[in-house]
Symmetry: D2
Subunit: 357 residues, 4 copies
């Protein structure tokens, strides 16, 4: 009997169920005697011994369903390599549950923080396999995370909708896209949606440059402009502050988010009417797109195959066209961000997209 624990951790995304289905169908199809234990609401379930024994039928019909049938919650600790006392207690609780349920391994679907924890558990001796979940595409070790392309579709659709209304009214429209520290989602949705200006956390913007780009469009007779702004976009000025200085400055901010601040600045500097739209949590939800379903199914199957071969301590990732194992120790704590010198940024710039730098 192979006993496999499974959990989904952190913010949800569109293809979690498809991925779990991939793992489960492959395990069940292996001919081995398999029992899958699903932990409720992520690491919490592992910590507090809250789980249910899954049946094959639980994984039927979920390929196209958004969300997660297991529920999820924020990952449990601001992880440090040497956890503090409270952190240690949590780890011990998780190890106890793992032992009590006689698990052969634990499958963790999670993003950056969650995979740091899965690496910690691996170092503590648990058999762990990780799966790269996030709409942010910021996980090191994989070309693509599942959830990303589905989120790109939603953010792009938001820009498409705004496009027609911006054109009809001749206004500047800002669409705020998710992504606190990385700009992948904004970059892809911005290009796909035909945004004129794209502002990313990785490329601090100069509001003067943004305004100049808008004025250039006006001069060319273009009646409207679309700006895709990442939640985590930052001005050049702010990017040069120390963490402490920035924190202090943020306390005095009056706008609900950076997009509103940028909008107000543009309105003041140009006199043009500016509107801000924030699709927000919509970007995590709804059905996974075909791309994500294929990726998730493949990743899930590959994770199951690692388990069947008793290869633990890896996350599976897409590299080139293949699914490959990547040591969790290499994944943990690294962020894959947009390189301002990368091919895609250069192409976008040569096309005339302004990044505010």
């Amino acid at each position: 009997m192979l006993r496999v624990g499974m959990l989904t951790s952190g913010g949800d995304c569109q293809s979690l169920n498809a991925t779990m289905r991939g793992v489960a169908k492959t395990l069940y199809n292996s001919g081995k005697d398999v029992e899958i234990i699903g932990f409720i609401e992520g690491y919490k379930g592992l910590m507090y011994n809250n789980y249910k024994v899954m049946k094959p039928g639980d994984f039927s019909g979920i390929l196209t369903e958004g969300g997660t049938i297991l529920g999820t919650s924020r990952q449990p600790f601001k992880l440090m390599r040497v956890p503090d006392a409270e952190g240690r207690d949590k780890v011990e609780e998780m190890k106890k549950t793992y032992a009590r349920l006689k698990l052969d391994c634990l499958v963790v679907l999670g993003g950056n923080g969650s995979q740091k924890t899965s690496n910690l558990l691996s170092e503590e001796g648990l058999n762990v396999v990780g799966l790269p979940k996030t709409i942010d595409n910021d996980l090191w070790g994989t070309d693509m995370t599942f959830g990303f392309q589905s989120a790109v579709n939603i953010a792009t659709n938001a820009i498409d909708c705004i496009h027609t209304t911006a054109a009809s009214h001749g206004r500047v429209f800002i669409v705020e896209v998710m992504g606190h520290k990385v700009g992948w989602l904004t970059l892809h949705a911005g290009i796909a949606g035909g945004a004129d200006i794209i502002l990313l956390p990785e490329i601090p913007y100069d509001i003067e440059k943004v305004v100049k780009a808008l004025e250039k469009r006006n001069k060319e007779g273009k009646r409207f402009s679309i700006i895709a702004v990442a939640e985590g976009a930052i001005s050049k000025e702010d990017s040069e502050l120390t963490k402490k200085e920035l924190k202090k400055k943020n306390l005095n901010r009056v706008y609900p988010s950076v997009s509103y601040e940028i909008g107000a600045q543009i309105q003041e500097m140009t006199g043009q009417e500016v509107r801000v739209t924030v699709p927000g949590h919509m970007q995590r939800g709804g059905e996974p797109c075909a791309y994500d379903r294929v990726l998730s199914t493949r990743l899930g199957a590959a994770a199951a195959n690692l388990i069947l071969k008793k290869q633990f301590g890896y996350m599976v990732g897409l590299r080139d066209q293949d699914i490959v194992p990547v040591p969790l120790s290499e994944v943990a704590g690294k962020l894959k961000s947009v390189d301002p010198e990368s091919s895609i940024i250069k192409e976008a710039k040569s096309l005339g997209i302004c990044f505010g730098d």
Copy 2:
């Protein structure tokens, strides 16, 4: 030579182009010698003599395109039956353009305010035909306005996306839907999206009732709840204030919109985490849905047929299954709002949806 002026007025919506195509194709197909003059940015174009002479090709391929190829702007005046001096000047300018271009009639695609103006122009002696445009579905004289069903689709999709993420995280989610004075859009999207609570301008809410409904769901073991809130939703308390008192109270409001206020109240009263999503202008944009394309094409054809029969002073509307002319004088200044005693509200209530009353 039949000379037809055309303009789109007020907030844009998804099926304006499809409607204009319906008018134009029918006029061109009549065998008469027809020239269509498109005014740029709504009544502004009529006022400031800003227009372009349209060609049949201009109306090709626009059936599926959102926005308006003519551009639009807010309708020009807070309309009063007896316009003030400034208003009179504007009216005179519009009449002059109409005369200068030797128009046989003017086609106005617009919502409530815009059709009040078109009625005024009709009373001033212009030959006017109106077309019922609005995502709000609040025009008197038609069962359905074009734009409404497309907006319902987008707002419903927003709720669908939020649904999966709400379920995964076990949270209360508020989706704010467009509609300042009427709740049609929120009502339909709320029912279509399976919202548990729907708050409309027409049915002032009691926050205690809302909280009670949430607690009932918690007791039943449901981990999450969805609330669809119209932009113009109002509490019972506020609905009993005079206009003046309300204005004063609004000055002191700290939340960007009623949804955030409701969210904060719920969070405080229940301790549950609440998230607010505002799809905003997205609801006006993107492709018209099939329903709207059929409705718009029919309305456009019917408007053209009125013109060909020289029947002016009407808006065309859907009544039962037929497109019928409705005197502009009957349309002007009336609002079609949701009747709290209507069939649809009773059905929704019997299903268990809470309206906060």
Copy 3:
């Protein structure tokens, strides 16, 4: 204890689950003690005593799911007002199951044939409530059936996809739309998709007129044409045959469907390349659209309210904006087809759409 049987009969469609959810939620929400019995695969389940006792949870999360959680099958007999011996036996079996399960009533989601049967059962003394299911929109007694608008969306999307490829290649494209006896689906999808020619069962076509319409487009320099053809479209010639003569002629037909025959004729008569696309069963499947979800929820709630008031022998239908009960005896055996003299056909013709007559 209120004991309610429920079944879905005939070809499936998109909003069956949403409708059953509407019935169930309203019954459960009534405060009465309710048990719902779901018959498996339509009338078969009632005949062969194949059912499951439903729980509230079974109706959770199915608002957006296509298909039917109960399964369906063709309705059991070519119904005659005076059933033959075999038919009588089936009826007796159904009555026995109904009695054995001590049902207070039976809810039937079905189209034309299925509602004839439900009327028969009603005449036999069972308490029946019907719900108007069909993508064909051909049920008498309701302005709209659920499933129709979802199917219109899919057929329209098919035409949209074909549109771009037709335009790129300058070809004639035929899209075959479902509907054997009635043309509602083809008519609506054809208008929504901007088809140049629409062929319906209700308006027999003259191939010469079709070819003339194509040639007119060619002369106007339009490089492509789209023809929406109902499965049941019929030539003038064939429409004048007796049933027997037509049957004989059909035996010798070489084409898989009328669209292919029309395509071959056009190709021969004009020399233009013609392509045929048949979206087929896709039109019944996938998620219900927002319109259908609202309609289904309302119809379901209204049906439940009839049950709670012990009013049986009705189908619920949409009339104007209200959901109203219609006696099953009035619904049974009538077909709601497209009137060639109706408002919508006249509008479409004035726009220039050719119906081949």
Copy 4:
């Protein structure tokens, strides 16, 4: 003055316009004096001197539009390395047009056959840059062609629609997916749609194995099965025939396509009802998806940058995350097909998907 010719060749696909926009915007944005000549209907336009001089405005608003604003046609010759007399004449005509218009280079958006021709023209001394267009994803030298992911979405959506109806009726459904020689589209849509059986040209199928897989599902109590079949799927038996033998056998085939033949065989061998759906040309049409828009924009920009750097004789392709130039001579005449031993096939098999081998 930089004079750039551009054409789209072969079957159309969803992202042709987005790609041309990418090329054009980058060229116009370069600061150089650029004139773009668009050839009408592919190589035909180049051969017969049929073209239009493009303006920047022609490339506005086409990012989201399917089809091609230039029109397309089959590529002109069954290409051989040493063209015959007629072929030579065509080549000479194309060279004449190129010279007459004083082009600095020619941009060719096309698939396998079209890039063979573009390589030929390159060898003849023209400055050519190729862009990898095809829904088949079978072009050598790029990880992904534009059009592919959009087509995957449509084919997947077809399977999704069929899924609900298959489940409701308990039937076997076959969805025939495009792809004559390669199975990429069927493979991806099949996995994304949750197909139980996938039949590809690259993996000849044994009908007995297919039937066995269906029977296994029946035994497990699964009421329905979905089979994704590539247009070019071939039985083991047929795959062992010589070309001549196969041609002869094909002459006697009674079914319109391999899917219908497989359907008939299954129906005969198992007694189960089988339905076939053929989305057909829909798969080439409609809006490009976000993925394709990003890919197309990047490829277009990269192609323009090659032109600006006067690097000719290349196709641009996606390799890993970068857009790279690939010599046309390497691309020409090679087919990228699905490797039966590849990672993705192994993953799909381990999941339990049957490939009939």
